[in-house]
């Protein structure tokens, strides 16, 4: 029947059913009672929760074929079973249901047995290339057919290949086996070569590299013919072709017939105006393509014209002519490029509603440059698009090009003028919706950015269509279609917009099936999923669910897919995860280079010295504790630095006590415990213990700290955190004398701090390590007070803001700007003065002398200078006279300002260059902050974008060198070698 296939597909035929015989179990209005349900796999009962929760038939209820079918579909959607058979058998007063699961046996091995004849690796390669390393069992016959073709191509025309699949159990796998009997290999018995070249010449067989007597090998013959035709093309026979056909004879030989059509000798010539020699082969790719057909030649003329027009020859024309005689085809390109036109002036006229500067920015045509028609057309389009975005739907832009009488040499000068006819401005008159049952008009209006009275814009309408479409898809209407139609009225000044909506069916989640989680609890995964049974299968919910699961950091791979059962509106959602190893170990090493202060000058004066500090780290972490995404982590870091100098002994300076030997005197041990969604709340909790010994410019310190922190993300960009910390800090190896020390450091060489702090972050950067777009704002406030166990009290606020902009240049160029402002205020505390033996020191009236401390301890004061702040200064070296000791060592302050500007330009490969301008200072009191006293530095540097982040080398120069002591100026430049961007 002519239309039988179509009707098969449509499935509307119904004439042949009456003779079919099959059986179905009888279900009256109620099925038999289910007394038992069993699940079996390979003869063993199955009690896996993932499986049992998918069984919809329940003992004690009537059997429903609908529930049977639903169960079967759920089970098969797991992609673990080749077949699921549902059987019923009498049991008690009803029936027992048995779900018999036949697991899939994916092929994990391919074996070849028998007399292969060919190397096994070659056979395996052919299979891998076409079917993958482990072909599905169902494609065994197809693979065997491919192998037979391979054997035939290699000269084994009688090879027999028999496939089979051998299953193994626990685990369920299969081996695909091919029994091969290669048979004898055919040799080339006879070789017949014909060449069609117009001269009726037969090519000697030896010329083509194929010899009678060689084993037949299709690939070798093709290679030989390719070499032969390549040689012909090299001689100018660009259309040379060679084909062969084998015939396997009963005697075990093969007759190979080769037909060579070398075509004419093709010569390409150019006439008329010159075309640069270097560009000819590219514009006329006869040699590269090995062809001289009409399409290629026509394309070549267009390419030549475009090439010349892009160089100002706007009247350029090219055509070709073929001349074939005596076996030679001569193709001659006639080129007439005409005069070169140069832009003398560019004008824009007729614009009333858009300012001229706005339009001039769109016209990338410069005076003195060649006139290029495509550039002018692009500018006209850009102008028209600008008007359309403003509601001028009928704006036309005409390019008027006037040839001027004057000329510069052989060039002709042109005046280019864009004549704009704005036409009427179209305002939106009405917005209507049709076909929407699910979403009311008011809700749809909220999705449309434009409104009656606003300029009509095609872009706005398209954006509104997309938003409506997405809104429906987020509600599970996957086949929604939104068609906007616009009617212009009143001479184009009014636009009535109508969105015709075809909602389609809503797709709901039937069941959510989670597979692959062995250590991670299902609840942890479900908590991140925004898809729930019975709810719409929304597009954004699906994407966000996947992102949230990936963000847990527990999985190597996360895939969420919907399992369609026909075109039905209910679908199972399959969540497949592949867990990452629970234990992670990281280690590494490197070298930090920077200029630091050393008391090596006259009388212990600070001197800046460039030092290299080798450092290494080791980190071990265990995640997903208890399947709840809890994690513990231990981080250790140690630096090898020059030993510190004790310049003060009992308040007496020891001059030039610099030792210079190295030791592991800077280290950090940090252990953290992290619990997401602690106490079933929205916030993540983190407990941290820190042991830290560090070398600063003016002192060393050792800190022990315990910290509890709760953090909460507020949408995609905002996050907030609150923390409490209890720490003990001890200063040692201070580089200044007691007289130079702030009072608090003398009173509290060891200090206990108990403090609360809060942080608000807004982060829209596109890359945390090396951003080129977005902003990063962070506000941090700390409060330490005696009432909560602190020895000293203070409030401290630190505000930071950074912004990154990618500039519209060919090279990746990023403008990065940063500002940091710190302010702190110490709370007053009276402290009795005591002698070294601990007794109070009394005044003349025998009363204890009491000092009032209001400073912040050294570990809490602000310091600046170095590779991440102001790069013309060594670490911590920045300060006013009040925050730098007479010997040149910084004491820190309660006020800080740091401003940065940097231009980062990618050069080649991962290498880039930066130019920067930094300014800042450290002030004794927050009230001393004075932008007029900032110290500036400028410089340049290079960075390499390594796989682990940028490695940076910066050289900063002070813009205002000062005298440290009479006749001794500050060092002019400071070199920094560091990891990561400066900010």
């Amino acid at each position: 029947m002519p239309e039988i296939t179509a009707r098969r597909v449509l499935g509307i035929g119904h004439w042949a059913l009456c003779i079919l015989h099959f059986s179905l179990p009888a279900f009256a209005q109620t099925g038999p009672l289910i007394t038992d349900v069993r699940i079996e796999q390979e003869g063993r009962p199955v009690d896996e929760r993932l499986i049992t929760r998918l069984i919809e038939t329940t003992p004690g209820e009537r059997l429903s074929m609908q529930e049977v079918r639903e169960t079967l579909l759920h089970l098969t959607s797991l992609n673990r079973f080749e077949d699921v058979q549902v059987l019923q058998e009498p049991a008690g007063d009803g029936v027992r249901l048995r779900y018999v699961l036949f697991p899939l046996h994916p092929v994990d091995r391919v074996e070849f047995r028998g007399a292969l004849g060919l190397p096994e690796r070659e056979i395996r390669r052919v299979i891998t290339e076409r079917f993958g390393a482990a072909p599905p069992p169902g494609r065994a016959d197809e693979v065997a057919e491919a192998l037979r073709a391979l054997y035939r191509d290699r000269g084994y025309p009688a090879a027999r290949v028999t496939p089979s699949v051998e299953e193994t159990h626990a685990p369920d796998r299969a081996t695909m086996v091919f029994d091969v009997t290669a048979g004898g290999r055919a040799a080339i018995g006879r070789l017949e070569v014909d060449e069609i070249d117009g001269r009726d010449r037969r090519v000697p067989a030896g010329d083509i590299g194929i010899r009678a007597g060689d084993p037949y090998d299709n690939a070798a013959i093709l290679a030989a013919l390719d070499r032969y035709t390549a040689a012909l093309r090299a001689r100018g026979f660009y259309e040379a072709r060679a084909v062969h056909t084998p015939t396997f004879e009963p005697g075990g030989t093969a007759t190979v017939r080769v037909t060579i059509d070398r075509g004419p000798l093709v010569m390409v010539a150019f006439a008329g105006d010159p075309l640069p020699e270097a560009d000819r082969d590219r514009l006329v790719p006869v040699r590269a393509e090995g062809s001289a057909d009409e399409d290629l030649l026509e394309d070549a003329t267009f390419a030549i014209e475009a090439y010349l027009q892009a160089r100002g020859y706007r009247d350029a024309a090219a055509e070709y002519a073929r001349d074939e005689r005596e076996g030679t085809l001569t193709i001659t390109f006639m080129i007439s490029r005409g005069p070169r036109y140069v832009v003398n002036s560019v004008a824009i006229a007729g614009n009333a509603s858009v300012p001229l500067p706005d339009l001039e920015r769109l016209v990338q045509i410069d005076r003195g440059q060649p006139y290029i028609q495509t550039a002018a057309a692009a500018a006209a389009t850009a102008i028209r698009d600008t008007y359309r975005a403003l509601g001028f739907t009928r704006t036309t832009v005409q390019i008027a090009v006037t040839e001027l009488g004057a000329s510069e040499g052989a060039d002709r000068l042109l005046a280019v003028r864009f004549n704009i006819a704005e036409g009427p401005r179209t305002l939106v008159s009405s917005i209507a919706f049709a076909g929407n049952d699910v979403l009311p008009d008011a809700q749809l209006h909220a999705l449309v950015a434009t409104a009656p009275g606003r300029p009509y814009s095609e872009i706005d309408v398209a954006a509104a269509r997309d938003r409506i479409d997405l809104e429906y898809r987020n509600r599970g209407y996957e086949s929604v279609a939104v068609e906007p139609a616009v009617s212009l009225a009143e001479n184009g000044t009014r636009a009535d917009i109508r969105f015709a909506i075809s909602e389609g069916l809503q797709v709901l989640v039937d069941d959510v099936i989670i597979v692959g989680n062995e250590r991670t609890s299902t609840e942890t995964i479900e908590r991140e999923l925004l898809l729930r049974p019975g709810q719409p299968l929304g597009l954004s919910a699906r994407i966000e669910s996947q992102q949230r699961l990936a963000a847990l950091g527990l999985f190597r791979r996360v895939a969420i897919e919907e399992l369609r059962q026909g075109g039905g509106p209910r679908r199972d959602v399959l969540v497949q995860v592949e867990e990452a190893p629970p234990t992670t170990i990281d280690y590494g090493g490197g070298v930090e280079g920077g200029t630091r202060l050393r008391p090596t000058g006259e009388s212990g004066q600070a001197e800046e010295r460039f030092e290299l500090a080798p450092r290494g780290f080791f980190q071990i972490g265990r995640r997903n504790l208890g399947g709840k995404n809890r994690a513990v982590n231990l981080f250790t870091r140690v630096s090898l630095r020059a030993r510190d100098t004790v310049v003060s002994d009992g308040g007496v300076r020891v001059d030039r006590a610099f030792e210079g030997s190295y030791g592991l005197n800077e280290y950090r041990v940090l252990t953290t415990y992290r619990e997401p969604r602690a106490f079933d709340g929205p916030a993540d909790m983190m407990l941290t213990g820190i042991l830290d010994q560090a070398i600063r410019s003016s002192f060393n310190f050792i800190t022990r700290e315990a910290r509890a922190e709760a953090g909460l993300r507020l949408g995609a960009r905002y996050s907030v955190a609150g923390r409490y910390s209890y720490e003990h800090t001890r200063l040692f190896n201070e580089r200044f004398t007691d007289a130079e020390k702030p009072l608090i450091d003398r009173v509290f060489p060891q200090v206990r701090l108990s403090k609360f702090s809060g942080t608000l972050i807004r982060d829209s950067r596109n890359d945390v390590i090396d951003a080129d777009r977005g902003t990063f704002l962070i506000a941090d406030t700390e409060l330490a007070a005696r009432v909560v166990g602190s020895e000293v009290g203070f409030v401290k606020t630190f505000l930071q803001g950074f912004t990154y902009h990618r500039l519209p240049t060919a090279r990746r160029t990023v403008l990065a700007l940063g500002a940091r402002l710190g302010a702190a205020h110490g709370l007053r505390r009276p402290v009795p003065r005591v002698a070294p033996d601990g007794r109070p020191i009394l005044d003349d009236e025998e009363r204890p002398i009491v000092d009032v401390v209001q400073d912040l301890p050294a570990s809490e004061r602000f310091f600046a200078g170095g590779d991440t702040t102001v790069r013309g200064f060594s670490l911590d070296r920045l300060g006013t006279d009040a925050t730098i000791s007479p010997t040149g060592f910084p004491t820190g302050g309660n006020g800080l300002v740091v401003l940065n500007g940097e231009l980062r330009v990618a050069l080649f490969g991962g290498l880039g260059a930066v130019g920067f301008l930094d300014a800042g200072n450290v002030f004794l009191r927050a009230t001393d902050l004075d932008f007029g006293k900032l110290r500036a530095a400028a410089g340049f540097g290079f960075f390499y974008r390594s796989p682990i982040g940028p490695i940076r080398l910066d050289l900063g120069f002070k813009l205002d060198r000062r005298e440290l002591s009479p006749g001794r100026l500050e060092r002019r430049s400071v070199l920094h070698i560091s990891f990561g961007q400066a900010f």
């Binding site: 296939t5 992609n79 699921v84 059987l87 026909g566």
Partner: protein, 210 residues
């Protein structure tokens, strides 16, 4: 149809024996086709099965249908109106000869799925019309060729109709043949790209022993 339904309801195996209720008969790109699907479409006359052919042919038709539905989902045609779906459901109901409820219960078909099937029928028809056109444009030579190759279709009362008289019928038949051939080739291409698995498990009631 009545006979089929009678067979469905009448040939009930005794409850004393183990009985296969359902199973997977094929998987098309991961989507399962079940034995109950096969029985439902046969009982409702939703696929075209030649006389004498059994469930295996019906399975092939369902595989084709699933492949087409996947294409329909990729390039969705306009959604059929609720009224059109209701008409298609009514047509299916009518073909069931008044035994729709019994067939539905016996095959696990619910009203929602029946509507889905009706909707899919309409979407497939619209898709095929969009993709292959309801009619095929033929040259006079091609029509004449068909007329010459199929004289039996144009013979009336033992006499071959003159081409002038048979032109319209020949054009219609030739167009239908061309369209069917095009669709058949498309189906072969779809099958070539699809992952179609038919379980190699034992027949009903005899699960594979391990």
């Amino acid at each position: 149809m009545c006979l089929v339904v009678a067979t469905v309801i009448g040939c009930v195996p005794p409850l004393s024996a183990q009985q296969l209720l359902d199973r997977v008969v094929a998987r098309v790109n991961g989507i399962a086709i079940t034995l109950s699907d096969v029985k439902a479409v046969l009982a409702l006359g939703l696929v075209d099965v030649p006389a004498g052919a059994g469930e295996e042919v019906a399975v092939e038709r369902l595989i084709d249908r699933q492949l087409v539905l996947a294409e329909v989902a990729r390039f969705a045609p306009p959604e059929p109106s609720p009224a059109a779906v209701a008409r298609e459901v009514a047509a299916i109901t009518e073909r069931s000869g008044g035994r729709l409820a019994a067939i539905m219960e016996a095959t696990g078909l619910d009203e929602g799925r029946l509507r889905d099937i009706a909707r899919d029928n309409l979407r497939i028809a619209t898709y095929l019309d969009q993709r292959f056109g309801p009619t095929v444009q033929l040259t006079e030579e091609e029509v004449l060729q068909y007329y010459r190759m199929h004289p039996e279709e144009f013979t009336r009362d033992g006499r071959l109709m003159p081409f002038v008289d048979a032109d319209e019928l020949a054009r219609e038949r030739a167009g239908a043949e061309r369209r069917a051939a095009t669709i058949a080739q498309w189906m072969r291409d779809l099958r070539g790209r699809a992952d179609i698995v038919k379980p190699r498990t034992p027949p009903r009631g005899a699960p594979r022993a391990y």
